[in-house]
């Protein structure tokens, strides 16, 4: 397993540079937006990756509540952390794209608002993990993750209704996508997913080590206490 890590790292690096080349050079220039539109190849794959990671967080939290396996808790933590990073990328690249195209940094449109609320929910999850006493963190965090995930459909549904009531002029209209663009998009998504997986993996190893160190320290303090009292 440990040997696979550098191999996957190199593969991801190659894939990322290929995806960068595809996005900047190969992909056709969009007719109305021009080169600005190329941020699309980072914006959308990041969003998909973040949603997948949040789904993994939900599943891992349920598994932890059901089986109480420490590995599930580490997976939940890791996926939430990396998911928040990707969600932040989405929220940062969005305004950068919106400013030249729509002429504004931000609009309270359905997708923007619901992604922001999603980000808030998972940041609060990470804050709970940071502020709770270490022994209780896994259970409390898993409970919050389940409630947070249950909240997501409500967020989407309520904001969808709010925004269809008051339509915004600057909604990015649907329409079809050029097959060449779709191709580049999918390659970028693959590269981003590999990268996310790589980061998650190394973070998982770190989390496991952390836990082992904590356990060793606890054990040491238990075995050494009587000696020092003597």
């Amino acid at each position: 397993m440990k040997k696979a890590f550098p191999i996957l790292g190199i593969l991801t690096a190659i894939l990322l540079s290929y995806a960068l080349y595809m996005a900047l050079v190969v992909a056709p220039t969009e007719q109305t937006m021009g080169d600005v539109q190329r941020i699309f190849y980072y914006h959308v794959p990041s969003a998909w990756t973040a949603f997948i990671l949040f789904t993994i967080n939900f599943v891992a939290s349920i598994l932890y509540l059901a089986m109480r396996k420490p590995a599930a808790d580490i997976v939940a933590l890791v996926s939430a952390e990396v998911g928040v990073v990707f969600c932040t990328i989405v929220l940062v690249t969005g305004p950068i794209w919106a400013r030249p195209v729509w002429g504004i940094w931000w609009t309270w449109d359905m997708r923007l608002t619901s992604t922001l609320v999603l980000w808030l929910i998972y940041v609060s999850y990470l804050m709970l993990r940071r502020f709770s006493a270490s022994g209780q963190t896994p259970l409390l965090a898993a409970a919050l993750a389940v409630l947070g995930a249950l909240c997501v459909p409500f967020v989407y549904f309520s904001i969808w209704f709010l925004r269809t009531q008051h339509p915004q002029p600057v909604m990015g209209g649907g329409g079809s996508i050029d097959p060449r663009m779709l191709h580049v998009l999918l390659i970028n998504w693959l590269a981003f997913s590999c990268f996310a997986f790589l980061v998650c993996w190394s973070r998982y190893r770190l989390g496991k080590l952390q836990r082992e160190v904590e356990q060793a320290q606890a054990l040491e303090s238990l075995t050494q206490a009587p000696r020092s009292m003597r």
Binding site: F131, A133, L147, F154, V155, I159
Partner: protein, 225 residues
């Protein structure tokens, strides 16, 4: 062992009696929301037309922040003399305790709302154009949504450092759909432009989903060690 409902009733009555004698929560909530009303009145011109548009958001923001005051006190009281630990080792079901606390908070916040609403009406010259009786439904559903999650997260933030700050940080993001629904329903009823049906249905669903999941998860949170 007494029935779960008896435990709920006993805990609820104890909390109500404590509150009746001390009036800690209700006084601080009342004063807090009064401050919000006054401060907000400086930020816009409280004429009838404009306030009708804004009042929905304003009222619920005031109640939301005031409710956090009461919610933070929910469990803190039980920490003294290790009451909560005693409860955990007793065979009493955790959900009876949770329901008692949630109902208690519901009563406190409802009393606050009943006392503050006339003030809001007077200060902002409010008069509903839509069906005003629906406001009562929205208020009850919305308050329950805030209180059931708030009681749950208050129990959760009890286990954290700086717990008083932790509660709103956990509660507000998850309550976004409920707050949105309350504010939009209230505005819809006040202005009479659109119906509030969708938001009421959303609130009912939200209440059902979160009451169920809080009840399912509360024992885990209470006994987290």
């Amino acid at each position: 062992m007494p029935a779960p409902t008896a435990i709920t009733r006993a805990t609820l009555l104890k909390d109500l009696r404590l509150e009746w004698r001390s009036k800690d929560a209700i006084n601080s909530m009342l004063f807090f929301s009064l401050l919000v009303v006054v401060v907000f009145s400086f930020s816009f011109d409280p004429s009838a037309e404009e306030s009708r548009q804004i009042a929905g958001g304003l009222i619920w923001v005031a109640f939301l922040f005031a409710a956090v005051v009461a919610l933070n006190q929910t469990w803190a009281r039980e920490l003294r003399n290790q009451v909560l630990d005693a409860y955990r080792v007793s065979p009493a079901p955790a959900n009876s305790l949770f329901l008692a606390k949630a109902l208690g908070n519901f009563i406190f916040v409802s009393v606050l709302e009943a006392l503050m609403t006339p003030l809001f009406i007077a200060f902002y010259r409010l008069r509903a154009i839509g069906p005003a009786w629906q406001l009562l439904i929205v208020a009850m559903l919305g308050t329950w949504a805030l209180v059931v999650n708030g009681t749950f997260f208050a129990a959760m933030s009890l286990r954290t450092r700086s717990r008083e700050i932790m509660l709103p940080l956990l509660l507000f993001p998850i309550s976004v759909p409920a707050i949105l629904a309350m504010v939009q329903a209230t505005t819809a009823i006040l202005t009479g432009e659109t119906g509030a049906r969708f938001w009421i249905v959303l609130l009912v669903t939200y209440d059902l989903v979160f009451t169920t999941s809080c009840l399912l998860l509360f024992e885990t949170v209470l006994n987290a060690e």
